[in-house]
Symmetry: C5
Subunit: 354 residues, 5 copies
């Protein structure tokens, strides 16, 4: 299950713009990939040094630097210094526990997103922070670790079909955001499957394992929701604000991303609604089961306790108990017991307990 | 019960404007119907090809193309290309898991609605996505499958009475929206009936079947609500925004539709309120039933357990037990037992358990 | 209890402005009353025909037509046509399941209100829809059935004291609204009484009958709230908007009505709050009762079951059981049983169960 | 406990501005006190007639008329007529069931507040309506009954120190409002004490008496909240609106009162939050207690019922039961019983029930 | 646990601007520290008198006076009078039960914050009120008691590196606010740890001690939330409003603080969400446990009560009971009992109770 809060407190008391990594301890090596492209050419470099990456920043072509491993503080700083990024922004890139946000400086747009990934081994969802910087003719994306949803963007760049190479850095950033948000659908479908499983369990046979699943799903929902809600405002500003770096042609695509974001949020809210109905259902089901158990106990006890008393009565050793000497005493008592049981069963039938 | 989320993830990573159907797998054949009309003439064509349909698009008359089966991707694309629809809009038409929305382009208005239908066999409500495009002199409506609420609109067109043939494409779109929203009343009446059934069950005898009905209704409400809420904004924009394609005369009718939408939403909210009261009632009812069961058990046990003990006492085989030899020992014990029962019953009466 | 939704679906698919009654089936005869008055004269006509009523509409005096029975579709239409009312407004007058609303046309103001009445026989609250049309020098009020809260307005008109005859049609409409809203206080007082009864029950002895009352009150509250909430906006618009037909002198009185509306809504919200506290209280009370029942059972069982076991022990028929032959075996066992009971009672006292 | 709604319905159907007292029936005599003051002189008159009071209204000095007993309708009317108060305002002064509100007429400001008082005998909080009218050089305060929070204002007036005599009628009204709101702190401290008592009860031993206290506190909170919420808007308007009768120097003090109001509201909301947590805690505590009771019952039953069965077994009177004749049959059975008990206890220990 | 409300009522009825300490009774001595600095020099004075402190207020250098112990009313007043602080602001400084707020006077900005500290001995969080006044070239900070989060600011001042000495009084105030808010992360991490502990307890074994922890955490959350929520608006105004005393260069840093505040609030809301899920989980867990207990009781009772009855039957002392004399009567009965048990166990298996 997602931890509640990572070592964010280590930064307390440092001056603003302090260059220190805040987040989960990580061991992954630094990995830098660069795409330098224009409408009619494309160069792709993988696993290069920071210096090499920066050397490809030139007039007349677009540059996309993707860096995995923001805990490599020096590399982050070196890149940012080259592109004239404000120290407070660098501090933000290094803090991996942020909410999605958008900052518009004079010369670049800084954006924080959460890339959600489904971990098929643990069976849960992990969130990774993606920082993106959009400049005049470059996009820089910082990831916490290797592995992302960008592979199809890379393929589209390599093939050079469609708009992607012609439409500038802002369009590239749009496609990156788009793949991140499209992947939320995969996450939500997975949640939907879990919801259906739990629902079936609830309607058929709710065990305490179902309760744990329900609770875990609710908890995952809380953290997914936290990653997604602020996105609404971020994407909306990207589309609405008259940001200098976003071209008018790109805005119509951002509108589309905004619609997707709304739909994702809407689905999350619906799921929350359903989950809270399920909790109600679970509690009522427990009550119903308890009722069923109690009824069995009550029926058995109510039938046999009086009978046992009667049997006990004639098990007493008094010297003078006239019934004991009757010829049909035993059978009379058996008969009475039988009638008592019938009466009880009739009463329970009338109460609809049987 | 409505599934949570259909295969929306298949589109992940595709470039924007990708022409791919997203939604439930469907087998229904393509079905295109065309109404070409002006104030004094009307031509109706059913089951024609796309090419034929497009050939009826001409100056001086209004055209309504209705297409069933948006999973026929090529047909959708062919129609849209003819009318100059933007690729992102085509992508939206093909995605059947969208929220109701309105988009105003320069040359057309694109609108997504949910047509709710009551399935009398399964006894539940299904939602079908209707996309509508309003142009200068045409309306195109895309449905997921045959079967709709438009039959009376067709009849009115055929009869040519009233305003419908005189008032242009925007008025036709209004009537289509109007029938969809009017049909929500049928759905809500059906829900109202179910609510009443459940309410009676709850007040008379709440079984665990009632709980399942309650939960299913709540779940259906969640999904109906999701189809209806965004409509408020959509219809409001249609009425308020100064959309070029909506004539001023049509706006007063849209105001009427808006009032209906508000009333539908209001009813849905009221139902939700009532449903949550019912859940409370159900839980309290379970508690009350348990109390009743427990009281029976407690009364029987509390009366007979001490009596059984007394009987057991005189069933002991001690050699020297003076009472056993008393002449009226047995009857004295019977008397004591009788008095004990009376006392217990009196106590229960005082506690109001009997 | 209020039904959830009446046959509103019968209108589905009809063209807009269709002249058809929507609502509960009614048998009441048509009843038209007219007051024609100016500052110094008054004519009152009851049970007249539509034609007669319309003939009193003349320059220089004010006219109030009150009609009971909106299911008399022809009469409604005849009156409306005379005064130039739009077909969509006529449709609204005939639909008795609407939310309170206000519509301002060029020549008249159309208003829908809910008149709440307490039915002393069934002991519940019924809502009746009142439509009012305010024109230059006339007010028309449409009711669903005879019986209303307007009697004192009629008396004031007859007596001709105060402002009522001098202040024009808008002031007359204000007084009609005012009496409707004043009557809400009667309804709320009645609810307050019921709340107090339930509260006393809850604090003294909560039966399952209390639960039913609680639920019924909650349900009535839901429907009253639904009638009252939209009023806030309606009255506010009447007071704030610069409506041509409302004189400035009348506005200060509407401000007063607005204050009353706010107070009524505020009271309804407070009641809802109290009701939801009561549901919590009820559920906790059930729990407490169950605890009490269980304690009795547990105490009795825990004391007697071990004693019964001991008695059973010495009821065994083994040949060699030395205790059985002891001189004071019986009394020793009785003593041990007595001590066991004392110990149990002491333990229960310590646990505060006794 | 506060009653839900007092006889407000008696006014139904009366013309607007009707001079009739609405509220609890009261017997208190009329009591009028007047302070006539300027910077360097002060006259105080107590228990005078309305005529006398009005005679002190003169140019060049400030006048504060305080009247206890708004059910003395004639006196209220006489005073109001003298100062030119609108009939609707008089109606409002006489209605003691209003929400706090502010009305700005051309020549005076009318304000309704709720003075909360703690009744140490009944141990609850009562609300009294205070109406205040601020004119050019006078303040009139109407109370429901004698006894108020104004004594220290009177002392400050008598001593003539500080700003109070120099700063005009608006400053006097500010001080009156200030003492009323300051007294809310006393009420909230009292609530805080009650909350702490209940909290300790809950964490130590929750009885059903605790439940009643909890519910009563919640109910008192609902009614206090109702008195306080609307105040926010009232005080805010007093501070923000450019009201002619409020001097700029007084506004900074009203800002201070506004902060206090916000703090009071904030505390009330926090208390509500805490109360709802307490209800959850109470319900869980009941559940826990029930569990404890049930465990005792189950442990005792599970240990002794099988033993009793075994004892019963050897109490049977069959002729041929070989064990009965064994030499150590009795002791073997005793041993088996002992082992059974040990095993049960071991199982309970493993389940952590013991 | 945090007390609900401290003796705030002592101020009731005092004139505005009354110089009186409101809050917890405190014994801490007065402690004043002064930093007088400019870009190239720094003087630090600790434990000096008010007069000395004020003597360092001179042109051309910046002054930071930090005072611990606001219950030393005279010292507060003396300092404030020197800097021309309004009496109402002094009153606010002396009231330690305020909400965070910002006031902008012509010559200074007054700000109230809550410094949260984790008390490792009691294991809970305490809030201390910090008042700050920012003037042209000075900052005054008032604390309730010694001990704060400012040590690293002092070190940065002493070392003179970075912006801190060059950037004026507004930047100093920013760093003070920044350390306070950064410390919230420490508090939230501590809460996160507690949440995880409780969560594990809940999923493994929920005792009533878990319930108490859960409740206490909820209560602490309520009070932390109360300290943090109003901050959003305060910091936002500091950043957005065109306050004369805040330089444009400082504003970008305040934007950063604002982001932190939002993140802290967001985390608090998430925790609340999780806590309320936990309460649901706890209640369901109790229900499940009860079910488990009841099942054990029911299984044991249902198996043995009928058997005991059969045993009792043949323990009766009737003279004529044919079965008793059968040769294999005893073994037949034993066999029947065995079969009865098997049947019961089979039934329980089928019901999935075993």
């Amino acid at each position: 299950m997602a931890k509640y809060f990572k070592n964010t407190s280590s930064k307390v008391g440092l001056p603003p713009g302090s260059i220190r990594y805040v987040g989960k301890t990580r061991e992954e090596p630094l990995r830098i990939c660069v795409f330098e492209y224009s409408e009619d050419h494309l160069e792709e470099y993988t696993n290069i040094t920071v210096e090499e990456a920066l050397s490809y920043h030139r007039q007349g072509s677009f540059l996309w630097i993707n860096m995995d491993g923001v805990h490599h503080v020096d590399a982050v700083q070196q890149i940012c210094t080259h592109f004239g990024i404000h120290p407070l922004t660098i501090e933000d890139i290094l803090s991996t526990e942020q909410r999605p946000k958008l900052e518009d400086s004079e010369t670049y747009i800084y954006m924080v997103l959460k890339m959600l990934e489904f971990d098929p081994i643990k069976g849960n969802v992990t969130a990774e922070q993606i920082s993106m910087i959009l400049g005049e003719n470059f996009v820089i994306s910082f990831q916490e670790r290797p592995g992302d949803t960008f592979e199809q963007v890379r393929n589209r760049l390599r093939q050079g079909k469609g708009r992607i190479r012609k439409s500038g850095a802002d369009y590239l950033m749009y496609t990156l955001i788009d793949t991140i948000i499209d992947y939320y659908y995969v996450i939500l479908e997975n949640f939907g499957d879990k919801l259906e499983t739990i629902e079936e369990d609830l309607l058929v046979d709710a065990s305490s394992r179902t309760l744990t699943s329900l609770y875990n799903l609710k908890r995952e929902m809380v953290s997914v929701r936290r990653s997604i809600w602020p996105l609404r405002e971020v994407i909306n500003r990207l589309e609405r604000d008259e940001l200098k770096l976003i071209k008018k042609e790109t805005r119509i695509f951002l509108r589309d991303v905004y619609d997707h974001t709304i739909q994702v949020i809407d689905t999350v809210e619906t799921y929350r609604d359903v989950l809270s109905s399920m909790v109600d259902l679970y509690q009522s089901t427990i009550g119903n089961k308890m009722n069923a158990v109690m009824k069995v106990l009550t029926i058995i006890s109510t039938i046999f306790i009086p009978l046992t008393f009667v049997a006990g009565l004639y098990g007493m050793n008094f010297e003078y108990m006239p019934e004991l000497n009757w010829r049909y005493g035993y059978f009379t008592v058996l008969g009475i017991m039988f009638l008592m049981s019938l009466m009880m069963i009739y009463l329970f039938k009338k109460k609809k307990w049987l």
